[in-house]
């Protein structure tokens, strides 16, 4: 398993891939962070005249920043996972891996951890802006950290699901498109909730990752949300494992 993980990391960092990814995430997140901060400055300048309560940074910058990053992740994750199995099939190395004594679960786990580390590094680079905010201003640190934990859990569960989807495909494009659609549908699954009856509203909003991520973004750490994300991770890895297992049975 560690062997596969090492190989994945090596491939990500001997090619420009890993560096481009990290730089790309920094540029993108920097742009949104800057916009939100500008917005905050505008609102707080206005509030001096109108309101007595000053807007706080956690609510006006950190929270929407994390929400934006969550959406960025939805688009980023399929790009990361789409080549994980399609590329092996193209290189012919898939045959080599399947005919080796390595268990499928270790293969899946090695790949998953490899991608998670690369993507995790990219995500951490986006936290540098929050870190600066924590250092220079009076942002409440703990909620900001808990919120970032929410982002990490979102990333890990999106990656697992996306890897599960990618394990079926032989083409990168198909893997990428299907993963993207899956994640978008999951993200927006509670959208029709307002038009249907209440019991369904609860179910749909429970299924949406944004509901659980929002709790964490607000700084509320509860086991219910963590269990939700862990189940998504387990589900994704289980799907990937099963779909590759059937290869050996074809």
């Amino acid at each position: 398993m560690l062997n596969v993980l090492k190989k994945e990391l090596k491939i990500s960092f001997v090619t420009p891939f890993g560096y481009v990814l990290i730089a790309g995430v920094m540029v993108l997140s920097g742009f949104f962070f800057f916009s939100l901060l500008q917005n905050f400055n505008y609102v707080s300048a206005k509030s001096v005249n109108i309101m007595s309560v000053k807007p706080n940074l956690n609510e006006w910058v950190i929270l929407p920043y994390y929400q934006t990053l969550e959406i960025i992740l939805i688009f980023l994750v399929p790009i990361l996972t789409m080549k994980s199995f399609a590329e092996e099939k193209k290189n012919g190395t898939f045959e080599m891996l399947i005919t080796s004594p390595l268990s499928i679960f270790k293969l899946v786990l090695g790949k998953y951890l490899g991608i998670s580390i690369v993507a995790g590094l990219a995500l951490c680079s986006s936290f540098s802006f929050c870190a600066a905010l924590i250092y220079f201003t009076e942002v409440e640190t703990l909620p900001a950290l808990v919120g970032f934990l929410g982002l990490i859990f979102s990333l890990l569960s999106f990656l697992a699901l996306s890897l599960g989807v990618a394990s079926f495909a032989s083409s990168q494009t198909v893997a990428g498109v299907v993963s993207l659609v899956t994640l978008l549908v999951l993200y927006a699954i509670d959208a029709p909730a307002t038009q249907v009856n209440t019991s369904l509203v609860n179910v749909l909003s429970y299924l949406a990752p944004s509901t659980h991520a929002l709790n964490l973004f607000k700084g509320i750490l509860q086991s219910e949300d963590l269990i939700y994300f862990l189940s998504l991770i387990a589900l994704g890895l289980f799907i990937a494992n099963r779909s590759l297992e059937t290869w050996r049975r074809l």
Binding site: K10, V14, N91, E95, T99, R248
Partner: protein
């Protein structure tokens, strides 16, 4: 070493391999000969546990494919038609990766790596990235990954396809060398290759075995070409 009984494989309803049986003893070099689409690759893929047979039994090195596929995986080395390589890794990095994948222990790894690099003529290329190698060298790396764990059985799918004449001669020499210590199966549609390299030949056509004998015995009365054409046109 290898026993195959009544092996069949259908892809959906189309039969690719039909009721094939054969036995291969230790240190034999067996050539699978046949036109394209004869079922050579499918048979080899079943032997390597890459795909599951529709029917029939396979046993390699005393292990049954149904009961102990992992034991079989440990005892075979396999070079598919396209040599499996990661273009981003160097030859050495790649071979270390495969060796660990095939559970070669750390104590043996260094020695084994040196032996294999030497045997496959890759010693000067070990720090090159796989992606930039020529086709002949890619094939050598493919062979190297198939033998790095010193398997009992080596399965090579068209090991010389797409190589230039000089490379073909070198690879054939290497195969003969490997045949001294391992049981070897290779597929080919080049008749001359099989007569030169193999001790025994299995001619396949339309998923069936049309002829199975020692090369020397088969070629006593007729040339291999005549036998091949007769077998294929049956």
């Amino acid at each position: 070493m290898i026993t195959v009984t009544n092996l069949s494989k259908n892809f959906k309803e189309i039969p690719a391999v039909r009721n094939v049986s054969f036995e291969i003893t230790e240190h034999e070099i067996v050539g699978f000969l046949g036109p394209n689409g004869a079922g050579k690759t499918t048979t080899m893929r079943m032997l390597t546990t890459f795909i599951q047979p529709t029917q029939g039994k396979i046993s390699i090195a005393g292990y049954s494919r149904d009961k102990e596929p992992d034991k079989i995986r440990k005892n075979i080395g396999y070079l598919p038609e396209i040599p499996p390589l990661y273009p981003e890794l160097t030859v050495k990095e790649y071979l270390v990766f495969v060796a660990k994948l095939r559970s070669v222990c750390n104590a043996q790894l260094k020695l084994r790596l040196e032996e294999v690099l030497e045997l496959c003529g890759l010693a000067d290329f070990q720090n090159r990235v796989c992606g930039v190698l020529s086709k002949g060298y890619k094939q050598r790396v493919g062979l190297a990954q198939a033998i790095i764990h010193n398997p009992q059985v080596i399965i090579l799918d068209e090991p010389t396809s797409g190589l230039d004449p000089l490379q073909i001669i070198e690879i054939r020499k290497l195969i003969k060398e490997l045949g001294k210590q391992h049981t070897l199966i290779l597929s080919s549609h080049i008749l001359q290759e099989v007569t030169e390299v193999c001790s025994r030949v299995l001619i396949m056509a339309q998923g069936k075995i049309m002829a199975d004998d020692q090369v020397a015995t088969l070629t006593q009365a007729k040339t291999l070409e005549q036998i091949f054409i007769e077998a294929v046109s049956e």
